[in-house]
């Protein structure tokens, strides 16, 4: 009873704390107002300008035809990932009973008779057919230069495949494939894509590289559903004057290229 009484008699001090609290709140409010008045700098006149003071608002132009600093290759054959190969699980060591051990009656498990299942239950469900084993084990992928590759430019990705000749263009002239990859990625201007799009389906472009190296017959093979992305991908190819003449010992008149672009902002 007495303890309760003490609490009741203390409510005088509430007012004092409340005052402090009020003072502090007012102080914070005044502080914010003061800061708004005192704080130097712009009040919105400079919005959208190139920058403040000596700081320059540098916007990225993605296509000066220059390769820049090296980044890790995106090729799955050459990165540190262990690939898709599954390692075999270690066989569990089977615990064998010691020869002189006396069996404890409670621990001897009764062998359960196999539960009978009905005929309908026994029917195996269709299992997914396992595909041919084309997994490349870690470290055995061979050289990076291959007939099919990927690239990434400013966070977006693309890939391409070559057809033509005896089908071995990509392996014989890996250096030319690299040139095509580089030129296309340099000439793809991402700012042409509708800025409200954040991700899109992959768009496939096909084109031919003629004997003298100029691209022809640029077509959207499969649209991404975003017209501006399709167009920017098409223009990336059309913007290129030449990839350089095809290798002189290559017999055919042209080589066909399929190029895909993955767009992600």
């Amino acid at each position: 009873m007495e303890a309760n009484a003490e609490i009741f008699f203390e409510h005088d001090r509430w007012g004092r704390n409340l005052t402090w609290s009020l003072v502090l709140h007012v102080a914070v409010a005044v502080g914010i107002l003061l800061y708004a008045v005192v704080a130097p700098g712009s009040r919105g006149e400079g919005w959208g300008a190139g920058g403040g003071g000596d700081a320059m608002g540098v916007t990225l132009v993605s296509t000066v035809p220059l390769p820049a600093s090296t980044v890790q290759t995106q090729n799955v054959l050459a990165n540190d990932s262990k690939g898709l190969a599954q390692s075999q699980p270690k066989p569990q060591p089977v615990q064998e009973a010691l020869p002189d051990a006396i069996p404890i009656p409670d621990k001897i498990a009764k062998t359960k008779p196999a539960s009978k299942t009905s005929a309908t239950k026994e029917k195996a469900k269709p299992q997914p057919v396992e595909e041919a084993d084309n997994v490349v084990p870690y470290g055995q992928g061979g050289p990076v230069s291959g007939p099919y590759g990927t690239f990434s430019a400013n966070g977006a990705k693309g890939g391409f495949g070559f057809t033509g000749g005896g089908g071995d263009f990509g392996s014989r002239y890996a250096w030319y494939v690299r040139v095509v990859q580089q030129k296309v990625s340099e000439n793809w201007l991402k700012y042409e894509v509708d800025p409200s799009i954040s991700t899109a389906q992959r768009v496939y472009i096909t084109f031919d590289v003629m004997r003298d190296g100029h691209p022809a017959n640029v077509q959207v093979e499969q649209s991404s559903g975003v017209p501006s992305l399709d167009q920017s991908a098409t223009r990336a190819i059309q913007r290129i004057d030449t990839f350089g003449p095809l290798p002189s010992d290559y017999a055919a008149n042209k080589v066909s290229v399929e190029f895909w672009f993955d767009y992600k902002r």
């Binding site: 540098v58 090296t70 580089q182 340099e186 201007l189």
Partner: protein, 440 residues
């Protein structure tokens, strides 16, 4: 109140003071450079001259490939032991695996016999063991160090042409510029790497803004003559001035159209300096601009020849504008400051300009080189390092920019890659200005 100040003052100071960094951003990110190994060429004969020529050749070849901007040169300290002079000497594994980890290998040999020199060079894709050869070349020339340098330029250009996507290398290109080292401002020429600097004109007057024709046969420039500033035409084939009409008034800053048929220039023959075009023969003069204020420094769209960028003072300070080649569709590109010296990139996509973003009292803006993407109006600053940087001009491959800068104390000519990296000084004697790169 003091407590309040102690609490909030640091906060106030902090918010107002985070500011002064500039962002340095790369272009074309995500594309790897080719790792290229270039072991020194071998001697293929037993001649005393071999050593000297090999030194010149190896140095020139290495520098050309290094300057190209598309290769990641594998440091020579990583190279496997043993000499490589012929395809039979190449062992793929040591080159294609770390530490060299090279993708491409350029090697060969040089031999002097009598007065002649034979150079054999190969380019191998060492990651492609089954069909490694990309390029095999043989050159024959006189056994002089100039010829060795030229051969190295040619071989480097072949490699750059193959691996750079069909864009010819610039190792054989020339740079024309204005130098006062003889006492008068004359037109001079040099190789792209600064070697072989020599005077072209000897007029004893003031000659400015040289512009070489697309076929490399003539140089148009403005010079102070008895009748004032006139456009003069110098034939590099004939090594003398050839006739070109005098239009009266002050005529400056000529610029060739990419087909070599027309010249654009600025003339004050009608009172106000305006942009005119004229046939390369001197006929068919046409006026393009007609607005009060100075109009100078025209530059053609080098890809299409259908547009002209130029500098106009119609709104006060000089700004960069573009128009169609017939004078229509005038558009302003720079929004503020003091922008001069536009030059159009070979692919027609960019303008490079010299720009003081902040100009006027109380705004000591630096004059720096900027690239502008014409379609998107985005721009990137290329130089940051002080001095006044002016008169930028593109290399024929579009990967390099040459410009004049005062950062070294006097006005000298510098070169850099088109993303602003790898800046190098090319000239050192006297004052050298207004560089112009040949078209191929």
């Amino acid at each position: 109140m003091m407590r309040f100040l102690k609490l909030f003052l640091p906060f106030v100071l902090l918010t107002s003071a985070w500011s002064q960094d500039w962002i340095r951003t790369g272009t074309g990110l995500g594309v790897e450079k080719v790792r290229l190994a270039v072991p020194d060429f071998n001697a293929s004969t037993q001649d005393a001259k071999n050593a000297d020529l090999l030194k010149v050749f190896n140095e020139t070849l290495w520098n050309d490939l290094d300057n190209a901007g598309i290769f990641d040169m594998v440091s020579k300290s990583f190279y496997p032991l043993g000499q490589i002079g012929n395809p039979a000497d190449v062992k793929f594994e040591p080159w294609s695996s770390p530490p060299p980890n090279a993708a491409m290998l350029a090697f060969g040999n040089l031999g002097v016999s009598g007065n002649g020199m034979t150079v054999q060079g190969w380019l191998y894709d060492v990651k492609n063991v089954t069909s490694p050869q990309v390029l095999g070349k043989q050159y024959q020339d006189a056994a002089t160090s100039d010829a060795a340098r030229l051969t190295a330029h040619k071989f480097a250009d072949e490699i750059i042409f193959r691996l750079g996507g069909g864009i010819a290398g610039i190792a054989e290109s020339k740079i024309y510029f204005v130098s006062s080292r003889s006492g008068h401002k004359e037109i001079w020429a040099m190789d792209y790497d600064g070697a072989n600097q020599h005077a072209i004109t000897h007029l004893g007057s003031i000659s400015l803004s040289p512009r070489v024709s697309p076929d490399g046969s003539r140089i148009a420039f403005s010079s102070l003559t008895k009748s004032g500033w006139d456009i003069l035409m110098y034939s590099l084939d004939l090594s003398r001035l050839v006739a070109f009409p005098r239009f009266g008034g002050t005529n400056v800053s000529p610029a060739w159209s990419p087909d070599g048929i027309k010249l654009a220039f600025s003339s004050s023959r009608g009172g106000d300096p305006e942009i005119y075009t004229v046939d390369a023969s001197g006929g068919n003069l046409k006026r393009l601009t007609s607005f009060k204020g100075v109009d100078v420094s025209p530059a053609w769209n080098r890809k299409t020849g259908a547009q002209i960028a130029w500098v106009s003072g119609r709104t006060g300070l000089p700004q960069v504008y573009t128009m169609e080649a017939d004078g229509t569709n005038v558009q302003r590109l720079t929004d503020q400051g003091y922008a001069v010296s536009p030059a159009w990139s070979p692919n027609g996509q960019f303008l490079v300009v010299s720009w003081m973003r902040k100009y006027g009292p109380g705004a000591p803006g630096a004059q720096d080189i900027y690239i502008m993407d014409i379609a998107s109006k985005q721009w990137v600053q290329l130089t940051h390092d002080g001095g006044r940087n002016d008169f930028p001009y593109w290399s024929p491959d579009g990967r390099h920019i040459i410009f004049q800068s005062s950062r070294a104390g006097s006005l000298q000519i510098w070169t850099m890659l088109a993303d602003g990296t790898n800046q190098k000084q090319l000239t050192f004697a006297g004052a050298n200005t207004q560089p112009n790169w040949s078209w191929k």
